[in-house]
């Protein structure tokens, strides 16, 4: 095999190669965003038939990819040398989910500045309100060649600000901003 034909990376996401979303400034922005629904894949489950804890974050990654495409980031954008990197993640695993079950994801933009996005993923069972897991993340926009954070381009920043405005009235999720610790009963 010609080495030049090999992909530059081995891990591919479900949306890879699908381009980015055509932004309509007149379209209402859902609060929260609903960009991904899928089913629990066989490669995500453990010996008990339940989704492995580490795989919840892989699904949140796919939801992030859907969000990136929503604001204009696709393969062409990254090929030009810019992308978002994750700097922090916090997962709450609330309920188990089994292979083949339908799941849907929501995404809330909690906060942002000119180069950072503070996002909150929620994973639900099918169309129910049964919350399976949450993922809170801080992402930073980077110039990959320079290896440093840089502001988003103005058109992307405008989209992010529109999403932030649409999400400003949403309640703050109970799991957001919580440090990990053993809460002991008083006395």
């Amino acid at each position: 095999m010609d080495p030049s034909q090999k992909p530059a990376h081995s891990l591919t996401t479900p949306l890879e190669g699908t381009g980015h979303h055509a932004w309509d400034p007149q379209a209402p922005i859902k609060a929260p965003l609903r960009l991904l629904s899928t089913t629990v894949a066989p490669q995500w489950v453990d010996y008990n038939g339940h989704m492995s804890e580490s795989c919840y974050l892989l699904v949140f990654g796919d939801n992030s990819d859907a969000f990136f495409r929503f604001i204009g980031i696709d393969e062409a954008y990254r090929a030009a040398g810019r992308s978002f990197y994750t700097v922090q993640t916090q997962i709450h695993n609330l309920h188990e989910v089994s292979e083949g079950e339908p799941i849907r994801l929501t995404l809330q933009l909690l906060d942002c500045d000119d180069k950072r996005l503070h996002i909150f993923h929620a994973m639900f069972r099918g169309n129910s309100a049964d919350l399976l897991a949450t993922g809170e993340q801080m992402l930073v926009h980077v110039d990959m060649l320079a290896g440093r954070s840089v502001p988003m381009p103005s058109d992307m920043s405008a989209k992010v600000q529109a999403i932030r405005a649409a999400h400003a009235g949403m309640p703050r999720p109970a799991q957001a901003g919580q440090p990990i610790g053993i809460r002991r009963k008083p006395g």
Binding site: A8, L11, T89, H92, N93
Partner: protein, 161 residues
């Protein structure tokens, strides 16, 4: 145990696999968790909840919460290891802190904190550790009590200012 110097547990050693590397050309953020989960499995084995221990007790461990600080990019093929510190425990919970470092160095790549819950799989429901497991949990908890609290423990996520 009281005579030996207190050291972190080395709970995983390996290299960054091609299938963990994404379109950004580095270890994908989700796969840091895959590595840290492997380290958690090693902690489970250390406290007696390997395959045989899970069968004998009917118990297993669920991760309730996990926090990752991504500190440096990690490229394919890099040799890495995970070191684990026990931050605390009670009758059914174990709080751990793990660092991913370049193998054999103190070069910090990522930090991870997890809250683990002991679960009776017949429910499944939260249950106190089995006595044999609890004994090991307590030995580790006491041994690590003298270690300094790690830099990235107890963090929350927020924009500065």
């Amino acid at each position: 145990m009281s005579e030996a110097p207190v050291t972190l547990l080395t709970t995983w050693r390996g290299t960054v696999l091609a299938q963990w590397v994404d379109y950004n050309g580095h270890l994908n953020d989700g796969y840091y968790m895959v590595v840290f989960s492997e380290a958690t499995n090693a902690v489970m084995a250390l406290i007696g909840l390997d395959d045989a221990g899970r069968k004998a007790t009917g118990h297993s461990i669920f991760t309730l919460e996990s926090h990752i600080n991504y500190l440096q990019e990690v490229k394919q093929g890099k040799a890495i290891e995970v070191r684990t510190q026990i931050l605390g425990s009670d009758a059914k919970r174990l709080q751990i802190y793990q660092t991913m470092v370049l193998a054999g160095t103190d070069t910090l790549l990522a930090a991870n904190e997890q809250m683990l819950l002991n679960v009776d799989m017949s429910g499944p429901r939260a249950a106190p550790f089995a006595p044999t497991v609890m004994a090991k949990v307590q030995v580790l908890t006491v041994a690590h009590r003298s270690l300094p609290r790690p830099t990235y423990a107890g963090r929350t996520i927020a924009l500065p200012g």
